[in-house]
Symmetry: C2
Subunit: 166 residues, 2 copies
């Protein structure tokens, strides 16, 4: 991954800067997960199971916004690694109930640790007050966005209509 000297006109666009920052940091964290033998989906599934305890496979997919068909390989990975147990629900034999194993919980703890370390490196130039500000703004904007804050945009185009593509 090359880090090019971006044009000033792009750096003026805060959304570009935000994207670039987030993508690079996420890529770095994903690399660290990979060194633990995990990918981002492993971490996300283990997070859901850690929070909710044993959960039906389909429900986990819904929680993560993942298509049921895409869950299959993800879960198989976790079962093969011994991080998640997959059992038929006795009450409804169509369903799989997923349960994190002790190793799975341990792995998720390691993942959290890597996230903290990576975040630490990112926030290094900030003092305690700066970090609090950053965290508060980040979660405020995330909440605003998740509540539909981007849905009320004016129609595209300005006073000047763009030419249709030839």
């Amino acid at each position: 991954m090359v880090i090019p000297p971006f044009s000033q006109s792009l750096l003026d666009q805060d959304i570009f800067v935000l994207s670039n920052l987030a993508l690079t940091v996420r890529r770095r964290l994903t690399e660290r997960f990979a060194e633990l033998g995990m990918n981002r989906w492993d971490v996300a599934v283990l997070a859901a199971l850690t929070d909710n305890g044993p959960t039906v496979q389909r429900t986990v997919g819904t929680l993560l916004g993942v298509d049921p068909s895409d869950m299959v390989d993800m879960v198989e990975r976790l079962v093969d690694a011994g991080w998640v147990e997959r059992e038929r629900d006795p009450a409804d034999r169509r369903r799989y109930v997923l349960t994190p194993t002790p190793q799975g919980r341990r792995m998720f703890e390691l993942a959290r640790q890597e996230e903290r370390r990576t975040r630490e490196a990112l926030l290094a130039p900030l003092d305690e007050r700066g970090r609090e500000e950053w965290r508060a703004l980040l979660h405020l904007l995330h909440g605003h966005m998740r509540a539909g804050g981007l849905d009320a945009l004016p129609p595209v185009g300005g006073t000047a209509e763009p030419e249709p593509r030839p």
Copy 2:
């Protein structure tokens, strides 16, 4: 794109929140660009040409961190749309010199406008002071990251070694 109710354990990871925020905002902006008939690469190339004036095609690729082979289609799009002029460099007939047309500059202005509007929607819950704080922190962290702030991470793994995958 479904917006699932993420697990608390994921929301505790600021890097996850940052990624989620940036990806969603970027997706929204990309949709707006699409309504103008542009994609993100169109905007990036036009930004580079707006800043630097006429530029050799290969140089633009280097500026954007894009492989020369991937530049071909991107430039052809822009030429077909009438936003960029592509001419052989008389001094070196291997080279193409790219120049933004007046329409190209106009389109880039419209793209900037959409970025401002989308940013406006995102920052709606902040007052002027909050926006200044956000912008300062964003650019500070971006600069820190681009200067290699994530390169000095401790080795992966903690006191407890993860089990190797079976």
